[in-house]
């Protein structure tokens, strides 16, 4: 069972992130849960493309000719940048909400103001 350790880590991280998003009441804590979920998905995609005994897919002074697959790494590059964009937008929303409502508790932000 220990040879599957990256996939077990993916499952544990997904559960931590999902429980945080569903059960917490502060906007900043929900944002941290979204970030943990994103890290779990990126780890899963990169772990799918591993070959035993392979090196990084770069030809400059490489130790051997058996390389891991390069396509999942390209997809994960895009996903990380989109996570950064999402986090920046949610943080700016939290600042404007705190200025208008006085709190960041999602139970108290109920009606549209103005």
């Amino acid at each position: 069972m220990l040879w599957n350790l990256p996939f077990i880590t993916v499952v544990v991280l997904t559960f931590i992130g999902l429980v945080t998003v569903l059960l917490k009441k502060n906007i900043i804590k929900i944002l941290l849960g979204i970030n943990i979920l994103e890290s779990a998905v990126n780890l899963f995609i990169v772990a799918l493309g591993y070959r035993v005994g392979g090196v990084a897919p770069i030809f400059t002074l490489a130790p051997s000719e058996l390389m891991v697959l390069p396509t999942p790494q390209a997809l994960v590059l895009t996903s990380i940048v989109i996570g950064v964009a999402t986090s920046a937008l949610v943080l700016s929303f939290a600042m404007v909400l705190q200025k208008k409502y006085g709190t960041v508790d999602i139970d108290k932000i109920r009606r549209l103001n103005g």
Binding site: I58, F59, T60, V81, A88, L91, V96
Partner: protein, 155 residues
């Protein structure tokens, strides 16, 4: 608020070193691990060091937001322009028209494990520079806007 004299001097000395290291990562994107996005993030971290060491009021006197926004727009327009220029050569959009051709970045590469040469990969270094400039301007302007929304200037 302004930090002490030791922190300000260290930030003054460290920022050119971080800038040159980030530009090295961007420029050698086709030979070593790295590329446009990673190098742009490194340079934006150096910018954040300067903004934190000197207070926000001082930094906005000599770093205007319009210049950074123009830098970000130039990066995206340059990226699309390099792709559209392939239509003028008779090929499809985003074709690599400079690889293996003998002009600007076009020396052919021998097959297998070799030591790497800077002059080689065609359109890819131009795209790396465009994306690096876009990410640098974009991340620095996000830090400046988030700091401008604070109310009391004691932070």
């Amino acid at each position: 608020m302004r930090m002490s004299r030791i922190v300000r001097t260290a930030a003054d000395i460290l920022f050119p070193a971080i800038l040159i290291f980030g530009l090295y990562i961007v420029a050698h994107g086709h030979l070593t691990p790295g590329g446009g996005f990673q190098g742009g993030a490194v340079i934006a971290t150096g910018g954040a060091l300067v903004i934190v060491a000197f207070s926000y009021k001082e930094v906005t006197e000599w770093l205007s937001k319009n210049v950074l926004m123009g830098q970000e727009v130039t990066g995206l327009v340059g990226f699309i322009g390099v792709g559209l220029l392939a239509l003028a050569f008779g090929q499809v959009f985003f074709f690599n028209y400079l690889a293996n051709s003998g002009s600007l970045f076009g020396i052919p590469v021998p097959y297998g494990i070799n030591a790497g040469e800077l002059n080689t990969a065609g359109v890819i270094p131009l795209m790396n520079f465009a994306v690096g400039i876009e990410v640098w301007g974009g991340l620095t302007i996000v830090i400046l806007y988030l700091l401008s929304g604070l109310e009391k200037e004691g932070c």
